[in-house]
């Protein structure tokens, strides 16, 4: 059996085993719908895992995003199979914070100290959209992160 015969047989096997699932392709095709040209993208500046954060729950991570005008700190932890986010806006201020995910979008109000939280988020990709109470059209959106 030649190398190329083996290659041909392996190609056939791998194309069965590594076929892209239909659901993954559908989700990918829909990803263009998340284009948001009007918001400022807040980039992930730092991520600390459980070994550095000493947070409760073992699996907590601390993410820091920022754009020109704001810093968004988010602690992600697991809570009975679902995700919990605790966030802080800097500078502190009241704002509408929306957690966008493939299945659902939920909005909470950050308090005057800039604190906000989400509970019972499903595992998957999430991003946060911040709309300040006094300037709702000037939005920040974080990069996507996995919870």
């Amino acid at each position: 059996m030649s190398e190329e015969d083996v290659a041909a047989a392996l190609r056939e096997v791998l194309q069965m085993v590594d076929r892209v699932p239909e659901a993954a392709l559908e989700a990918a095709n829909a990803a263009i719908g998340w284009r948001d040209l009007d918001a400022n993208l807040a980039l992930l500046a730092a991520e600390y895992g459980p070994e550095l954060t000493h947070l409760r729950g073992g699996q907590a991570r601390l993410l820091t995003f920022h754009d020109q005008r704001t810093i968004i700190e988010v602690e992600v932890s697991a809570d009975r199979g679902q995700a919990r986010l605790l966030g802080q806006l800097d500078p502190p201020r009241e704002a509408d914070v929306t957690a966008e995910t493939a299945g659902q979008s939920r909005t909470v109000r950050a308090d005057p100290q800039g604190r906000f939280s989400f509970t019972e988020l499903r595992d998957g990709w999430v991003r946060l959209v911040i709309a300040d109470a006094d300037q709702p059209s000037d939005r920040s959106v974080t990069e996507w992160f996995l919870v």
């Binding site: 059996m1 030649s2 190398e3 047989a9 085993v17 590594d18 892209v20 990803a31 263009i32 998340w34």
Partner: protein, 193 residues
């Protein structure tokens, strides 16, 4: 990939054109999926890496100045997401040094065997699972559907472009040797006659 023009597709997709976007997804879906699979992520984790890679592209359309490098950008992004997921779940991150002869994998790869119809295919899959990890990773990407460019594969695995051809040969020879040791080759099926 013949009539796919990355520059035109990227420009149109950045303007929100769904058809152009779908053409990008179809062209690179095999590459991105096999990068995730090559790092032995579960189906669910692979789906997260796959989706995350596309979300990153939508998020960062403006950052890609050279559309000719779109495949490389996607492959690099998928690899980074895959490695991050491995780190986060506390699993070993593989060495990217293709010249290192890594330990043969301990047994058969993920449970996809039920997809394989014939004894020959199962024999081949089992032999594939005994190849060194770097071989398994490279061969998965090389046989992605639709096929990927060597340049993009090199980005997806973090290996030098020039190593791909020689490694491909060496890994296929290794596989062939295992098959001929197992048995008289793919055509001689064991039992079940």
């Amino acid at each position: 990939m013949s009539d796919f023009d990355p520059a035109a597709a990227l420009a149109a997709a950045a303007d929100g054109d769904q058809l152009a976007w779908t053409s990008i997804v179809s062209t690179y879906s095999g590459l991105i999926w096999t990068v995730a699979r090559a790092y032995r992520l579960s189906a669910a984790d692979s789906a997260d890496v796959f989706q995350g890679t596309w979300l990153r592209l939508v998020e960062h359309f403006g950052d890609i100045r050279d559309a000719g490098r779109l495949g490389g950008w996607l492959a690099t992004t998928a690899r980074r997401e895959a490695l991050q997921l491995l780190r986060r779940t506390g699993r070993d991150v593989p060495t990217e040094d293709m010249t290192t002869i890594s330990e043969a994998a301990d047994g058969v790869p993920t449970a996809d065997e039920e997809l394989l119809r014939t004894e020959d295919q199962r024999t081949l899959w089992s032999a594939f699972g005994q190849l060194p990890d770097n071989c398994q990773r490279l061969l998965r990407l090389l046989f992605a559907e639709p096929p990927a460019l060597y340049a993009d594969i090199s980005m997806g695995l973090g290996i030098p472009l020039g190593s791909i051809g020689p490694t491909r040969s060496r890994c296929l020879a290794n596989l062939e040797k295992r098959l001929s040791q197992n048995d008289s080759g793919l055509s001689g099926s064991k039992g079940g006659r």
